[in-house]
Symmetry: C2
Subunit: 384 residues, 2 copies
C-alpha cells in the first residue's frame, strides 16, 4: 500500500498516464478479428496521420521503440548498403548497432555528447557519400537532451536517393516535425513519451519511396515486416495480434490530441521546458544540452555532489523518479522529463525536489530560487 | 480526456485516494452474506479498533459523516434531554441543528469562528448544567481549522452522566485522539479524510455507557440504529447492505495504517501542516485559525483580493482544488487540506499555486518565498 508513499514520475519514459486513459485500457479486451476492432483501427489510423502530419499510412507494432527502429533498418536497407549515421548519444549508437547487425555499411558522423549535429556536417557527408542509401538520425537524442536540426537536414536528402530515417521517439508530439512537409522517409515513435501511454506500442510513418524500397529489400524480417503490416492495414486489420488494451488508450489520447490541436501540445511542452530551464539557471546549475529539445531538461550534477546519491535521495526520500545519465553520462547529469501527463506543477515539484536533495547533500543553493524562476516564467508565458 | 488537464485535489474531503486502494475497490463485489465477507469484516473490525485506539466495537454505516453524527444524536439522547453544544463553526452548528431536529434541548457555548473553546467555558457549562445528558463537540472544526481541546475536556465529563460526543471526522488519524484513554463516549469519523478513501463510509466508536444509553433511548431510528448494528457485528455481519467496494479499500488502508503505526501517520500530518504554515507566514499572509489542527491550513484572503476569483483561478488555470470558506467565511479564506494521499510535494505545489494565483490577481508577494520556507521546514524537520 502506498498511503504515505506518493510517487512522482518525471523520467523520459515511462511517463505518467492520464487516469482516463488508464481506465480505457481496463475495458474488456475485444477480439482483434471482429468488426468492433476494425472500427477502433479506423479511428486510430486517421488520428495517427494527424499526429504525424502525414497523408501516408502509419504502421504500428506491439513493441518498444527499438523494435520500430529495427524495423526501419531491416525493411529499408539491403545488406552491404551504405548508411550515414549521426552518432551523438546512446540512441545514435543504437542506429549504428542496428545497421551493423543487419550487415549495412554505416558511415558515422560522430557528434560530441551534448551537441547537435551541424547541418554543414550532414551536407558534407551526403556529398561525400552520394551512394548512401539512408541517413539515420534522432530528432531528439534522449540520452543528451539534444535536438538535432532535422527540419534543416530533411531538404538535403530530397535531391538524392538517400532515405531520411528519423527516430522521433521522444520528439513526436513535443515540437513540430511535420512528416510530409519536411519530406521525411521514415519516422519512428513510441507510446510511452508524449503520447502519455504505458510502453508497448511503437509507430513508423513511411513515405511513398520508403514503401517502395521496402518491397525490394532482402533482409530477413517477419514480425517487423512493413509489407505485411501495410497489406493488413489496407484490409482494416493487423498482421499479428495487436496490443488491444494499449490501442484503447491510444484511441483516447489521439482523439484528445486532435481536439486540442498540435500547436497547443507543442506550446505546453515549450512552457514546461522553458520554466524548468529558467529554474535550473536561477539555481546556478548548468544545463547539459547545448541545443535542447522541449522534451527534457538535463542538469549537470554540480562539482562535489555524488550523482548516484542524488538520484537515490530523490527517488527514495521524495519518491520522485527522474532519470540519471546513461553510458558515459552516468552519475553526471539529472534528466527531468517534460513528457506525458504533466502540468506546470510537475516542473515546480521537480525543481523543489532537486533543491532540497542538493541542499541535503551539502551543496549550497538559494532554496526556492529555482521554483521562483519557474513561477515567473509561467506567469510571463501564458498558455494561450 | 485529461491529457493537459492534470488535476490536484487539496480539499478537506474528498481527498486523493492511493492507486492501490482504488484498484482494490475495483475488485468484483462479493456478496455480503458469504463467509468471504465475514473474513473481510473481521479484519476491518480489528483494525478499526487500532485506529480509534479502543477495545470497544466501532460501528460503520454506508453514509457520509453527517449520517454518523445524526446516529449519535438519535441513539444517545431522548427528546427533551439537555445537551451542551460547542458551536464555533459550521459543524458545531450542525450538532445544534441535529439536536433541535430530534427535540433535544441544546445549550450552546458559542465560540468566535477561528478560536478554540476554552476549557474553563466547558467546565463552567458542565457545572451550570449538571443535568446535561451530553456534550457535543468537534475535535477539529473543519470550517475554521480550529482544534478544540478535546483531550483536556474529556476528563471533565468522566465525573458526570454527561456523554462526550466528538465529531472527529477530519481529526481521526491526523493527531492523537485515543478513544479509551481519553474516555470519550462516542466518536465519529468518515472515510474521505485521513483514511484517504472516497466518501461513503462513516464510523462511530462507542463507550460501554454510550452503548447502554442507546438501549434506553426512544428517538425514532432504523437505518442508523446502533443496537441493530452492534447485534449484527456480533454475528459477523451488518444490519443492512454494506458499501462492499469501499470496505475493500478500507481494509487495505487500515492494514497499511497498522503497519506504519499511528505515530508515523501523526508525524506525517504534523510535517505537512507545519511546512505549509511556515510557507504561508513567509509570504506575509495570515493564518485564520488561532489553534489550528494538523489537517488543514486556513489562509486569510489578503485585503484587496477577491476570494472567489482566487479560488476560480487556482481551480481552472492550475487545476488545483483547495476549499474556500463556508458560510460567513465565504470568499474570506482559502483552506488547504493535508489529508489523504498527499506528500511533502503537495504542500510545495499548493504554496506555489497560491503564490502564482495571488501574483496574477495583483497582490504583491515574493514569488517562491512560501515554497522556500516549506522546503526549509522539511529539511529541518525530517520524517524519522
Amino acid at each position: 500500500m502506498d498511503l504515505l508513499e506518493k510517487k512522482f514520475l518525471l523520467a523520459p519514459g515511462p511517463v505518467p498516464v492520464p487516469p482516463k486513459a488508464l481506465l480505457s485500457m481496463a475495458k474488456p479486451v475485444v477480439h482483434h478479428r471482429l468488426p468492433e476492432f476494425s472500427a477502433l483501427l479506423r479511428q486510430i489510423r486517421d488520428d495517427l496521420k494527424y499526429l504525424f502530419q502525414t497523408r501516408e499510412e502509419v504502421i504500428f507494432f506491439a513493441s518498444s521503440g527499438t523494435g520500430a527502429m529495427e524495423a526501419c533498418v531491416a525493411n529499408l536497407f539491403n545488406p552491404g548498403e551504405k548508411v550515414i549515421v549521426v552518432r551523438g548519444g546512446k540512441f545514435g549508437e543504437r542506429w549504428g548497432e542496428l545497421a551493423e547487425t543487419y550487415g549495412l555499411n554505416p558511415v558515422y558522423i560522430d557528434v560530441p555528447w551534448g551537441e547537435a549535429v551541424k547541418v554543414a556536417e550532414v551536407k558534407e557527408a551526403l556529398s561525400s557519400h552520394p551512394d548512401a542509401a539512408g541517413l539515420l538520425i534522432q530528432a531528439h537524442e534522449t540520452s543528451t537532451g539534444v535536438k538535432h536540426p532535422v527540419a534543416e537536414i530533411a531538404p538535403l536528402t530530397r535531391q538524392s536517393r538517400t532515405l531520411l530515417v528519423v527516430d522521433a521517439i521522444s520528439a513526436l508530439g513535443v515540437y513540430p516535425l511535420p512528416f510530409d512537409e519536411l519530406g521525411i522517409d521514415a519516422m519512428v515513435a513510441g507510446s510511452q513519451k508524449s503520447l502519455a501511454l504505458p510502453p508497448g506500442l511503437s509507430f513508423v510513418a513511411l513515405s511513398p519511396r520508403a514503401r517502395e524500397k521496402a518491397q525490394k529489400v532482402t533482409s530477413p524480417r517477419y514480425y517487423f515486416d512493413f509489407r505485411r503490416e501495410l497489406k493488413a492495414l489496407a484490409k482494416e486489420t493487423t498482421a499479428f495480434t495487436p496490443a488491444v488494451s494499449l490501442l484503447y488508450g491510444l484511441a483516447e489520447i489521439l482523439a484528445r490530441i486532435k481536439e486540442l490541436g498540435l500547436p497547443r501540445l507543442f506550446r505546453h511542452y515549450q512552457r514546461l521546458s522553458g520554466a524548468c530551464r529558467a529554474g535550473v539557471k536561477a539555481l546556478g546549475l548548468e544545463l547539459f544540452a547545448k541545443a535542447p529539445a522541449e522534451a527534457l531538461t538535463i542538469v549537470k550534477v554540480p562539482e562535489g555532489v555524488d550523482g548516484a546519491k542524488l538520484m537515490k535521495l530523490m527517488r527514495e526520500k521524495y519518491r520522485v523518479t527522474m532519470a540519471g545519465g546513461q553510458a558515459k553520462l552516468k552519475g553526471k547529469v539529472v534528466r527531468i522529463a517534460h513528457l506525458g501527463y504533466q502540468s506546470e506543477l510537475d516542473v515546480i515539484l521537480a525543481l523543489a525536489t532537486l533543491e532540497m536533495a542538493l541542499t541535503e547533500l551539502g551543496f549550497k543553493l538559494p532554496l526556492g530560487a529555482g521554483v521562483a524562476a519557474a513561477q515567473k516564467y509561467f506567469l510571463e508565458n501564458q498558455e494561450a
